[in-house]
């Protein structure tokens, strides 16, 4: 029996954390599908280091499965992956899954290219959760409402470009200091998935949340390419089958917890603003050009156009 290690940063509660749900199902399914040829040890809560450390351990082969999110994904050593940080690419989890699935030629090629270039194999990409904007005093329903707001963003360039395009000032505040900064007014607002807004209790210090769903936080399950290619065809298939099953758990828990999360935030006294398709389109229209220009400059016109042509295939369906 071979020991495998899996790690991620969420706490060890599969009913509330999508990645935890994924990992627990993956563990049981791999063990079942391979007749207990593998034993997966789970290390939740970032016990083996933060996401960048996870990437390093995977790339050396000392770690077999890790889940990393957008920001780290983009700095993997394959810059083009940063394309997923662009705003308003996806309308729903289903939209994400259809367009970012590994059975899809464009994505399959991307995954192979990443593996060849970095030694890291992306097994699957997941819709971790849509990011929403929250603000203290300003009700945000149109792009114009954002003018002059100081908004905390991650140190991710397209997110900053997006804020600038909306007339807001992007401010990089370390996550550890974000609560205090929102409370005291160092920044007027921030953007995060509902689960983080609840975990960090931002609802205590924010008056409004707008369901802008401007960026999907993407999760990637990664493994070591050399180890992966060294597996037998059957074992690879068994793991991919387990991944497919586990992905269902991830997305289901994610979708349910998003829904409950928004309700919790509302119950905590935050005014939640839902946006209709026209309102969302106004946000998209205001931000798409500057962020796309940045992407073209960073990743090359060919790749960006290729990606948007690929995405266009799914527009009509979602």
């Amino acid at each position: 029996q071979e020991q495998l290690k899996a790690t991620w940063t969420d706490p060890d509660d599969p009913t509330t954390a999508p990645v935890t749900a994924y990992m627990h199902v993956l563990e049981s399914q791999v063990e079942r599908n391979t007749g207990d040829a593998y034993d997966i040890e789970l290390y939740p809560n970032g016990q083996l280091g933060d996401q960048r450390a996870m990437v390093q351990q995977v790339s050396r082969g000392s770690l077999h499965f890790a889940n990393i999110a957008s920001g780290v994904l983009a700095s993997l050593g394959y810059p083009q992956l940063g394309i997923v940080d662009m705003p308003f690419l996806f309308k729903s989890r289903a939209h994400f899954n259809a367009s970012m699935n590994r059975d899809n030629p464009f994505i399959a090629k991307l995954m192979d290219d990443v593996a060849a270039e970095t030694g890291i194999r992306i097994i699957s990409l997941h819709p971790y959760g849509f990011r929403n904007m929250t603000t203290k005093d300003t009700a945000v329903e149109t792009p114009e409402d954002m003018a002059g707001l100081r908004m905390r963003t991650m140190e991710v360039v397209p997110h900053q470009k997006m804020m600038e395009a909306l007339g807001a000032t992007p401010v990089p505040i370390p996550y550890l200091e974000l609560y205090t900064s929102l409370q005291t007014g160092v920044v007027d607002g921030q953007e995060n998935p509902p689960s983080n807004i609840i975990l960090q209790r931002f609802y205590q210090v924010q008056g409004h949340m707008t369901e802008t769903q401007h960026v999907m936080t993407v999760g990637a399950v990664i493994t070591n390419e050399e180890w992966w290619q060294g597996l037998s065809e059957e074992d690879r298939t068994a793991i991919l089958a387990a991944d497919a099953e586990a992905s269902l758990a991830h997305d289901g828990i994610g979708a349910v917890n998003d829904l409950l999360g928004v309700q919790t935030i509302r119950d905590e006294g935050v005014e939640v603003h839902s946006l209709g398709p026209d309102q969302l389109e106004a946000f998209r229209a205001a931000t798409i050009e500057p962020t796309k220009a940045w992407a073209v400059e960073q990743f090359g016109e060919e790749f960006v156009n290729g990606f948007f042509e690929h995405m266009a295939d799914y527009d009509a369906r979602f």
């Binding site: 370390p174 550890l176 205090t180 409370q183």
Partner: protein, 429 residues
Amino acid sequence: MNAAFAWMLVSFGFLTIAGFPLAFAMILACIVYFVLAGEPLYLVAQQFFNGIDFFTIMAIPFFMLAGELMVASGTANRLLKFAQLLVGRLRGGTGYVNILASMLFGGCSGSSIADIAALGRMQTEMMTRSGFTREFSAALTVSTSIKGAIIPPSIPIVLVGAVTGTSIGGMLIGGLVPGLLVAIAMAVAVFVTTRRQNIERSGRKTAREAVRIVLASLPFLAMPGIILGGILSGIFTPTEASAAAVGWGFVLLLAETKFKPDPKLLWRIFLRSATLSAAVLLLTGASNVFSWVLASEQVPALVARTIFAITENPILVLLIINVFLLLWGLFMDMLPAIFIVLPILMPLTGELGIDPVHFGVFATFNLVIGLITPPYGTALFTGSIVLGIPIERMVKHMLPFFLAAIAVLLLITYVPETILFLPRLMDLL
């Protein structure tokens, strides 16, 4: 327990006792572990680096630098005169002046050692002149210094927040009331032990002198106001507040030197802050490697199981933790406890239903007490060197102050509101 892990603990224990620098004792012990356990060695470098790769820890060099700038611009001198003016006229007044001056200086500096180094000789001299024995004066000087490490700004609290991921802003402000309580408890201890002695009072000051002293100390008394006020009014984050403290310290030094600060002095101040904080940062990084191994060996869960096997009563669990940390403080340094022990104990707060900010502050305070207890106490050693009094002669007089500190510890452990009241009032929880 597997052999690799056992060897790691043995080598760490040996190296520590043999006087190996703590940061490298952790690193070498982890190297031993990685080699024997067959884990890749690059983890040493990687986790070392990652352990200091976050913004909030920058408060440590900044608070150190701010403290140095304050000392160089004559803070200690002026705060002492200010304290004399307020409480010097009481019977045994210089004892209270000592306590009050340490408290005010604690609002500028982030550590006990700085407090002793900056104020110690003056405080002891002043008390001896008014009739206290040198030993008693030194004992009080060393004991009151624990306030510097708990009243905001506080370097130990920043470290605890950094390694356990607890709100640094909340804990910094949560340390204010415990710091004041220590001042009161120590004042009571001075009152009880000296009421039958014949101690001189300070001379009366004229109104003009009084006004001059107050005005001269105002810019220094403003330091805590700038730090806390700046955080609470949303001008800056707690980490940025430490940089603001440096800015204010620099302004004071400019004013003190009539805009002609000695460049050599400035260079030495920067060098000392950078070097000493580098040593602390390397310890932080090394403890991250150590924690990686502890997590990988599932030690936190083991400790939790062990404690809960003894009792599940939260009151008793907290007592066990306090006794353990006090025993640790008797023999060991505060830093390894912050870096190794607290990350293991912090997860217990969830199961006990205590606020991490509450736990972080009282556990830090507990470890700070260890700085003044023999046989091993850094503040005790510093005091002995700076004041030129052998430890054993000082320690005899420290019992009342030690008891006062324990009383405060019990109070803040079992009455969480003493810590949580202020941060809650300010919505920082």
